[in-house]
């Protein structure tokens, strides 16, 4: 029928070997950076290689990383949630208030997660229900959620948490592995499977690459986005439980500025800020890189202000490096 040649062309499944694809990835580069920082820290400070010091250091990133996993999915789908730190404040305030009334540990956890889910639902409804841009919506809810905390608490603090509540932020599962670290590892696996091995994960990538095409292919775009906001809210609730438990008190300024560190972690992990690309593995490595850097600078007695400068630089460099690299390649 067609006048094209009838010889069947054989199209290979993939180009190159699996090893060559992996070696060329952002994650490998990032891993090399992590190893370099580790070695540098080990040489720079005699206290660095102590097991318990290292275990302590993981608290620098575990809570933020839990949120970053959900945020990664959201960013891949082309959205963002800047209200995550404010959700922590509101969830923590709610738990503090409940603890004041004598509610037990199980009840507090349920309240923390519940507030997180509710805040996520608010963001999700505004973005996927009313079709508002998520960056504006979540800047708004960022002020809103934390504002409620300030109204409730003023310059006060909640501090009377039940003893058993301390386990989430201060307990150890085995040896030097804290509850937070084990939870972080488990969530990394769950999110990696969700994003990379399920139909739902594939839908996230398609939405991020071309929302029109996703809709024209029968993907329930609004529902997927709503679920992602719920998930991000829930993970903020989980982080709120861990952080509140670790600090043992709640102030309205709790987790101030974390949204930027979470976004930095996501971008550093190779998630495209434009949506459509990235891996959970990258975010895991990025979490370690940021944790190691913060810990190393701490050991060297570098003040906190300098650390925030460092985080800012890290964010800019991560976004600039791939773009500059591409330009250099194009010039050749």
């Amino acid at each position: 029928m067609s006048d094209v040649t009838n010889t069947k062309r054989v199209i290979p499944d993939r180009l190159g070997t699996k090893a060559s694809r992996i070696l060329a990835s952002w994650e490998v580069l990032l891993f090399a950076v992590a190893v370099a920082i580790f070695v540098f820290n080990a040489l720079a400070s005699p206290y660095f290689l102590d097991v318990w010091n290292l275990s302590d250091a993981t608290f620098n990133f575990t809570e933020k990383a839990m949120i970053a996993f959900a945020m990664a999915l959201l960013v891949i789908a082309g959205e963002i949630d800047l209200s995550v730190a404010a959700i922590i404040a509101l969830a923590s305030t709610a738990m503090g208030g409940a603890a004041q009334m004598g509610i037990g540990t199980a009840g507090l956890v349920a309240i923390g997660l519940g507030v997180g889910l509710a805040c996520g639902a608010v963001n999700g409804l505004l973005v996927s229900g009313l079709k508002l841009p998520s960056i504006v919506v979540t800047i708004g809810t960022m002020s809103l959620f934390r504002g409620i905390s300030y109204i409730v608490l003023g310059d006060q603090a909640y501090g009377k948490y039940p003893e058993s509540f301390a386990f989430f932020g201060q307990g150890y599962v085995v040896w030097a592995f804290s509850f937070e670290f084990v939870l972080f590892a488990a969530l990394a696996i769950v999110f990696a499977i969700l994003l990379h091995a399920t139909n739902f994960g594939r839908q996230i990538f398609v939405i991020g690459n071309n929302e029109f095409a996703a809709r024209f292919s029968g993907i329930p775009v609004e529902r997927v986005k709503f679920i992602l906001f719920l998930l991000t809210g829930l993970m903020s609730g989980v982080a709120a439980v861990c952080l509140t438990s670790r600090l043992g008190s709640t102030r309205p300024s709790i987790a101030q500025g974390w949204e930027l560190e979470v976004v930095t972690m996501v971008v550093l992990g190779g998630i495209s800020i434009l949506g459509g690309a990235g891996t959970i593995g990258g975010v895991v490595i990025a979490a370690f890189v940021m944790g190691l850097v913060t810990f190393g600078l701490g050991l060297l007695n570098v003040p906190g202000i300098v650390m925030s400068i460092f985080v800012g630089l890290l964010l800019i460099i991560t976004i600039a490096v791939p773009i500059i690299g591409r330009r250099i390649r194009e010039m050749r």
Binding site: M1, S2, D3, V4, K8, R9, I11, P12, D13, R14, L15, A197, T198, N199, F200, G201, R202, F205, V206, N209, N210, F212, A213, A214, R215, F216, S217, G218, I219, P220, G276, A277
Partner: protein
Amino acid sequence: MNGAMQTHNRPPHPAPLEDPAPILEMRGISQIFPGVKALDTVDIKLFPGEVTALIGENGAGKSTLVKILTGIYRPNEGEILIDGQAVSFANAQAAIDAGVTAIHQETVLFDDLTVGENIFLGHAPRTRFGMIDWREINNRSLGLLQALESEIDPTIRLRDLSIAQRHLVAIARALSVEARIVIMDEPTAALSRKEIDDLFRIIEGLKRQGKAILFISHKFDEVYEIAENFVVFRDGRAVGHGKLPETPQQDIVRLMVGRDVKDVFPKVKVEIGAPVLRVEGFTHPTEFRDIFFELRRGEILGVYGLIGAGRSELCQALFGVTRASAGRLVLEDTPISIGSSGDAIRAGIVYVPEERGRHGLALPMPIFQNMSLPSLSRTSRGGFLKAANELALARKYAERLDLRAAALSVPVGTLSGGNQQKVVIGKWLATKPKVIILDEPTKGIDIGSKAAVHGFIGELASEGLSIIMVSSELPEILGMSDRVMVMREGLAAGMFDREQLSAETLVRAATGNA
């Protein structure tokens, strides 16, 4: 009328009898890119007051030639002569200064600037004090637009114009520089028949002013209508040229593809079966109303009409992307309601959109993931992806459609337009649909792939699929359809059986001219 159009004081050219001296001549032009010879010792002459059609498949070197003429590329070999004088364009401005202007396939215009600003962007007239002379911009814009028989106000914003009006602005922009050589790169791609007629009137006007026009188009009927001369490109070489009315289409097609294409539109005899889809009183709040039709097994229903007649909107409502406000759909004797594209896909109605890149594909994602997308529920197990199944499914349809790709894992965006279309069609065939809606299935596809797509559509019909094919190309509609529904301003303006089909009938129904 004033300004640029008149400033060249050439006498209006009488219809040329013998070959006059060419305004522009290209001799032995070669353009070499690493690994490819995009143009190979090409000769072209453009004559005053005449249209020369440049014909060739995608990748034949037409765009490269345009880029040389507009000063974007500098050729490796050969010379360009204007009025017999050798010239060389150091940059785009040099080409404009030499009197060459181009209307591109998709001229970049700015929605939030006014019409006048768009026309004179980059070469705005200045006052004595070096400030932009707004009055001059608006006056000259008005003159240019009036010369194009248009009443557009130069002070309104571009975003308030229709697509056809924007096109006029693009043409006015091209003519706002003093040009004697006008290049039109597929100027009719986005236009309906009526707008094309308007454009042709403009071209006739330019001819009378003695301008030389290079007209690039895929569409033979247009080329025969407007052009005096033709040049055919194939694989970077000029393989033939001549006078137009004298040269039969078959000869040009043979030059283009380098082989005989017996029949560009092979209509396969298909046994038309029982009704599959019945559409009753289908109505959209703004785009279309009271649409009735029945689609049978193995039937190709053509849908013809001008741009804005509601054809794509009807298709998108059938596919659940937009909602119809009234009407009934009956699929194989069962009334169905479609609230989302997911519902449509489950019911067995799929849609190949007009804008492949925008609506059909996730371009950065691999071929196989695009192909398997609507079939994920079958290739996966318990919600978990099975890459092997996806690859197998993609391979099956890639082979069936004769897809040309380096691997199934390469991004769809790296493929040519024709191959991208094959991926979109493949992705929908994989869902085993009952009804497939094709919206401008061969738009922007070169003629070789076009024939393959047409052949394939015929094959699908013969396998019992019911097809709705929206097209603005009359030959395609006439050649492929069993029946044709013509739409005009949101209404069904007529339904024609194959025996009744003729270009005149359809155009008359579509434009409402009795």
